[in-house]
């Protein structure tokens, strides 16, 4: 199978400092091609979530440039940011579910904002909820769910629009091994269908078993970037 190499994500000398002298990312250079599956690993506080925040333009880098599909994020007008975010599905480490919407509505909301037809929404949302094993929790609110269930809602929401880029920050932190593997199987399937996947994780077993590209951060620096790596 021949694949044309296309840039999906490019970090160009990116540094992120927080007030108080904290260096969360330190001169990062990373290229991720379309269709790749990349693990970001590293100790707690190494800068993994900061990396994800940069992609979303949630925080601007202190130095350097970030490109997504050749769009320079610093040039992106704030009015175009929603377009950027719709292109990605994101699983946030802290879930970020809408507390006043039910599980169903949380997932449907992401479809509605891109203008999906109600018929389409009614068909697709139950499907993806059953894929993450939450069909019977659709009418509950986030604070009525277990930690792992909330995480799975977050995963369902990230996947609902078949994004070209799926960014998952610690998507299995609250899941038991069995459910984790089910989620990984889903991600793999997405990846096979062409979705680029960037996943920050601490799960040694998963990283070791998947044999994908692994980028390791230590104190905000890339110390390892290895194809078919281990944790």
């Amino acid at each position: 199978m021949y694949e044309r190499l296309e840039n999906m994500i490019k970090f160009d000398n990116v540094t992120k400092n927080y007030s108080g002298g904290i260096v969360a990312l330190d001169n990062i250079n990373i290229h991720i091609q379309k269709g790749e599956f990349v693990f970001i690993v590293g100790q707690s506080g190494a800068g993994k979530s900061t990396f994800v925040k940069m992609l979303l333009k949630e925080e601007p880098p202190t130095k350097g440039e970030i490109f997504i599909e050749d769009t320079k994020l610093s040039d992106l007008h704030s009015r175009r940011v929603p377009q950027l975010r719709r292109k990605m599905g994101v699983v946030f480490q802290d879930f970020r579910l809408l507390s006043k919407k039910t599980v169903y509505e949380n997932v449907a909301y992401s479809m509605e904002i891109i203008g999906a037809k109600p018929k389409e929404v009614r068909k697709r949302v139950p499907l993806i909820l059953s894929m993450v094993g939450l069909s019977n929790r659709a009418k509950l609110y986030p604070d009525q769910l277990s930690g792992g269930e909330q995480q799975r809602v977050s995963i369902a929401r990230a996947m609902i629009n078949n994004p070209t880029l799926l960014v998952a920050d610690e998507p299995t932190g609250n899941l038991d091994p069995e459910t984790s593997w089910e989620i990984m199987r889903l991600l793999k399937q997405f990846n096979r269908n062409g979705t680029t996947i960037v996943m920050a994780t601490h799960d040694q077993n998963i990283v070791d078993a998947m044999e994908m590209r692994v980028i390791e951060l230590v104190n905000g620096k890339v110390v390892r970037d290895q194809a078919k790596g281990v944790y």
């Binding site: 009015r79 994101v90 946030f92 006043k100 909301y109 992401s110 904002i113």
Partner: protein, 294 residues
């Protein structure tokens, strides 16, 4: 873009019902103040206008030697002056009688009079006090008039008084409308602040600012609308009750000038709707702004 039904909005208002209730009741409270004070002010205005009208007449003393026909012609000429509403003819005998009635306690003084010193008089009712000076001037050109009596000082004072009352009333109303606006806006700010996380999440998953704004604006409008209607309703009830109390029982003097409930309610409803729904919508629009920059 998704179509935001009233239904959806009501659902959201219900899910945030503690907030919704608090907002609505603050809207009601501040509009209630505005409405009540406004109805008091409107009535004081009406009262002082009424008083003013009791003094806006000009007495025209007619020369002793005029014939009946000449008097009639004079009357017609007066009637034709711009600003004259109507005229009444009062004979010298009536005038003396009226004085005796007015100053009852001194009537024995008047018994001692050898002749009736009063002239025949035309009493002019004006369309409005502002015409008084011009009428007095034009009367000077007419034949057969001995003297024009017009209580200029008194009338001026009363005009001063009414405009003073009106100005104070206007300032108070504007001030209260400002405060009501401020409080309603503040309340909306607090309710939106409590939902800032929700708003930022919507932004993070890729909703455009306007897509997020619309439902909040709609909610704000409905909160304001409900608040405006409730407060107007309460004022209607309080006012009807007071009106009945005053007109049926005491203070008949004041009751005569009291505006009826329909007049008051209409004005207040209009103002409440403008402020309530206007600030409900605008306040939401403005308050949500800073939470959208994520």
């Amino acid at each position: 873009m998704k179509y935001y039904s009233i239904n959806e909005t009501l659902k959201s208002l219900f899910r945030n019902r503690m907030m919704s209730l608090a907002s609505i009741s603050s809207v009601v409270a501040s509009l209630l103040v505005l409405g009540i004070i406004m109805s008091v002010i409107l009535n004081i205005n009406s009262f002082s206008e009424g008083i003013k009208h009791q003094f806006d007449s000009i007495d025209v003393y007619i020369q002793e030697d005029l014939t009946k026909n000449e008097i009639l012609t004079l009357g017609e000429s007066i009637q034709n002056i711009n600003g004259v509403h109507s005229i009444i003819f009062e004979t010298k005998d009536q005038a003396l009688e009226n004085l005796k009635i007015d100053f009852e306690e001194y009537s024995y003084l008047l018994e001692g009079l050898e002749y009736n010193p009063f002239p025949n008089t035309y009493i002019i009712n004006l369309d409005d006090v502002i015409y008084a000076d011009s009428i007095v001037n034009q009367l000077k050109n007419l034949q057969g008039i001995e003297e024009v009596k017009y209580y200029k000082d008194l009338v001026n004072r009363i005009i001063d008084l009414t405009s003073y009352v009106r100005n104070i009333g206007l300032v108070l109303t504007l001030f209260l409308a400002g405060i009501a606006t401020f409080i309603i806006n503040n309340t909306i700010k607090l309710t939106i602040n409590a939902r800032r996380r929700e708003i930022s999440i919507m932004k993070y998953v890729g909703a455009t600012s306007w897509y997020i704004r619309w439902p909040f604006i709609l909610e704000g409008t409905i909160l304001g609308l409900i608040g405006a209607l409730i407060s107007t309703g309460i004022i209607y009830l309080i006012y009807s009750y007071s009106f009945q109390l005053f007109t049926s029982q005491f203070y008949v003097v004041f009751a005569a000038y009291m505006l009826n409930v329909k007049t008051i309610a209409k004005e207040i409803l209009a103002l409440n709707l403008i402020i309530g729904t206007g600030i409900g919508a605008l306040g939401s629009l403005v308050s949500i702004r800073k939470y959208l920059n994520v």
